[in-house]
């Protein structure tokens, strides 16, 4: 478990009331814009480059722990749970929420307003969904290694905002 302070690159766009938990990494060019309401990001998340997290609602947008949000993804819903993966260009749109252990596949999106239940996998084109049958046991091992690596390497090559 990574208990370091969070790592936020300088070339990101941060606006509004944002709280980022310990260990979370925010890569370059990400934008976290709390337009109408606050954004609360949990611990040990990996938010990749060009991700857009926008809160258009007045209620807080809550992102849980140990999520991995890959490049160019969009999170505009009301929040996501823990241990989810939003893959490259995946979208959580409208007022949707993601449960825990979900995977939003590459270029897949949730419906505009649905609460995606736990363990759901959105995949394919045309998009379909299924429920995963494993308990996502192998996720944490890889995720922690990823976090460790990023915490080690990212500050060497990118300017980091000092954590308050």
């Amino acid at each position: 478990m990574c208990n370091d302070k969070s790592l936020v690159c300088k070339n990101t766009i941060l606006e509004g009331d944002i709280r980022i938990g310990n260990g979370t990494v925010v890569h370059i060019d990400a934008s976290i814009i709390a337009k109408n309401g606050p954004i609360i990001i949990g611990t040990n998340n990996i938010i990749s480059d060009r991700v857009k997290i926008v809160n258009n609602h007045t209620t807080p947008l809550v992102i849980g722990d140990n999520n991995q949000i890959e490049t160019d993804a969009v999170i505009e819903g009301r929040g996501i749970g823990h241990k989810n993966v939003v893959q490259v260009r995946g979208k959580v749109i409208g007022t949707s929420t993601l449960g825990n252990n979900c995977v939003v596949g590459v270029m897949c999106e949730t419906d505009p307003s649905e609460n995606v239940p736990d363990n759901t996998i959105l995949f394919g084109n045309p998009q379909s969904r299924r429920t995963r049958s494993d308990n996502n046991a192998e996720y944490m091992e890889v995720h922690n290694k990823h976090l460790q690596y990023v915490h080690e390497m990212l500050p060497r090559y990118n300017a980091i905002i000092g954590a308050e």
Binding site: V103, G105, I121, F123, G124, S128, R130, R132, S133, D134, A137, E138
Partner: protein, 485 residues
């Protein structure tokens, strides 16, 4: 978008391959003289008679090809289309692991990859072998499973866990070996092998063939000959696992119907991953003389060709140039061509560009087939295409435009060059004046093109000291000009 650009997207040139001998040359090798006479008659008939587009349109569509799809047999000196070539496999490989499968293993592995290549039963993506913790036995033992990266499907869902991460196929075979379906298949195979042995033992004249067609032939011939150990005397097949009566179903029969091995059907939990099918690399031969036209490298990762005889390397390529550099005399840099919309009654200039792929000069003559829908005048019916050479040899462009006023030169030169819009390197652009007579969605003009060139390969043949032979190729090209308003 203007209408000119819309009709521009419909411009195209298709080459016609009659596959009946109409594209024969003057002296191509023929198997026998009778065939040669027949072909010569057909050739004269079709090339002389005007091609009636409206009646033969449906057939012609099957026989017209863009030049990229045509091959050329340099032995017969003729064009070959994909219909008149013989295809044969030149190598088998797995598209996933790019492993070259030797031909002997292809049949034994039923045209599938024998290694770890499987399709996910849910999303048909290719599965990956992953080492995980085993759920069976004591926890903590690692095993290999097949998993899909797209839909997160796991082979643990159907209970497949493997000890090693290689040779998954072999482990699956072992798992299935005890099942009723496999036993039934094995006993069926034994039975029919005995039948085949009996039939071949009684057949007259052994051909040594093993195809199913010859097997049936031998069965029937054995019956006709009425030998003592005929096929009929063999006992009928008895099911090894399944009861023969239709009403009763045994446990084993139910297992067969479980859709366990039928793919992409029913409940995903009972689907099994399918092995990845092998891909073939094909080589193509001329149907007449069996000369190899296309021969790819047999290795999977190598996409080159050992032999590549394409029509584009022997016949002139006809294209519609969008613009050409205008002559220096006229001053402007670029001239837009082929933009005049076609209207009934008005004459529109159409520019076609011929490119010579050969290293020798090529004489081209263009004749128009009869067409009711339009009248076409070819302003430059005969011209010579210079050979293809490196660009530095072209010191000056020779721009002769028939549209510009004739320069101070002899009238003889004018009459030859009239109709030639532009000449650069190995390409000549000629002008056709098209006067449509009726409205159509797609105006297509047939052109009969004859190209003649000297065979430079003959000069290398030391025994042949006579003059190098001339090769004449005649073919029809359909030029689509788009909509006529």
């Amino acid at each position: 978008m203007s209408s000119e650009l819309d009709s521009g997207s419909q411009l195209g040139v298709l080459y016609y391959c009659p596959c009946s001998g109409c594209m024969r040359t003057t002296d191509a090798p023929v198997k026998d003289s009778k065939q040669k006479r027949e072909f010569a008659e057909l050739a004269e008939e079709e090339c002389r008679a005007p091609l009636d587009i409206s009646t033969q349109k449906q057939l012609a569509v099957l026989r017209t090809w863009p030049i990229e799809k045509l091959y050329y047999c340099d032995d017969c000196s003729e064009v070959r289309c994909p219909h008149c070539v013989i295809e044969e496999p030149a190598g088998y490989h797995c598209p996933n692991c790019t492993f070259d499968v030797p031909t002997a293993s292809v049949r034994s592995e039923k045209n599938s990859c024998a290694r770890n290549c499987f399709h996910c039963p849910v999303c048909t993506h290719v599965l990956v072998v992953v080492v995980v913790e085993s759920t069976q036995g004591d926890g903590g033992q690692s095993c290999s499973v097949l998993s899909c990266a797209v839909c997160m499907w796991d082979s643990r869902e159907i209970g497949w866990e493997f000890e090693t991460s290689t040779g998954i196929s072999a482990q699956i075979e072992r798992m299935r070996a005890g099942g009723p379906a496999v036993k039934e298949y094995a006993s069926l195979l034994d039975y029919w092998r005995t039948v085949q042995r009996t039939a071949s033992a009684t057949a007259v004249g052994s051909h040594g063939l093993t195809s199913s067609a010859s097997f049936k032939h031998r069965l029937t011939s054995a019956g006709l000959h009425g030998n003592t150990t005929s096929v009929d005397s063999l006992p009928p097949y008895k099911a090894a696992c399944y009861v023969d009566s239709g009403a009763e179903l045994t446990e084993d029969f139910k297992a067969l119907e479980d859709a366990n091995i039928i793919p992409f059907n029913g409940d995903p939990r009972t689907k099994e991953p399918q092995r990845v099918r092998l891909h073939m690399k094909l080589s193509r031969r001329c149907r007449m003389c069996h000369h190899i036209l296309i021969k790819p490298e047999s290795k999977a990762h190598n996409s080159r060709f050992k032999i590549q005889l394409l029509a584009a390397n022997f016949l002139p390529t006809i294209t519609f140039p969008n613009f050409l550099p205008a002559s220096k005399a006229r001053g402007s840099l670029l001239e837009h061509l082929n933009t005049t919309p076609l209207r009934v009654g008005s004459t529109a200039p159409v520019v076609l560009r011929f490119a010579n792929p050969l290293y020798t000069e090529m004489d081209v003559s263009v004749d128009v087939g009869e067409l009711d829908a339009a009248q076409t005048d070819v302003l430059a019916p005969r011209f010579t295409l210079p050979p293809f050479a490196e660009l530095w040899e072209y010191d000056e462009d020779e721009d002769d435009s028939s549209l510009a006023s004739p320069s101070a030169s002899s009238s003889g030169r004018d009459s030859v060059k009239r109709g030639i819009i532009h000449q650069h390197g190995n390409q000549i652009a000629i002008q056709l004046d098209v006067t449509p007579r009726a409205q159509t969605q797609k105006l297509t003009i047939p052109l009969c093109i004859t190209c003649t060139h000297l065979d430079d390969m003959a000069e290398m043949d030391t025994s042949d000291t006579s003059t190098p032979r001339r090769i004449v190729n005649t073919f029809w090209a359909y030029v689509s000009l788009g909509t006529v308003n």
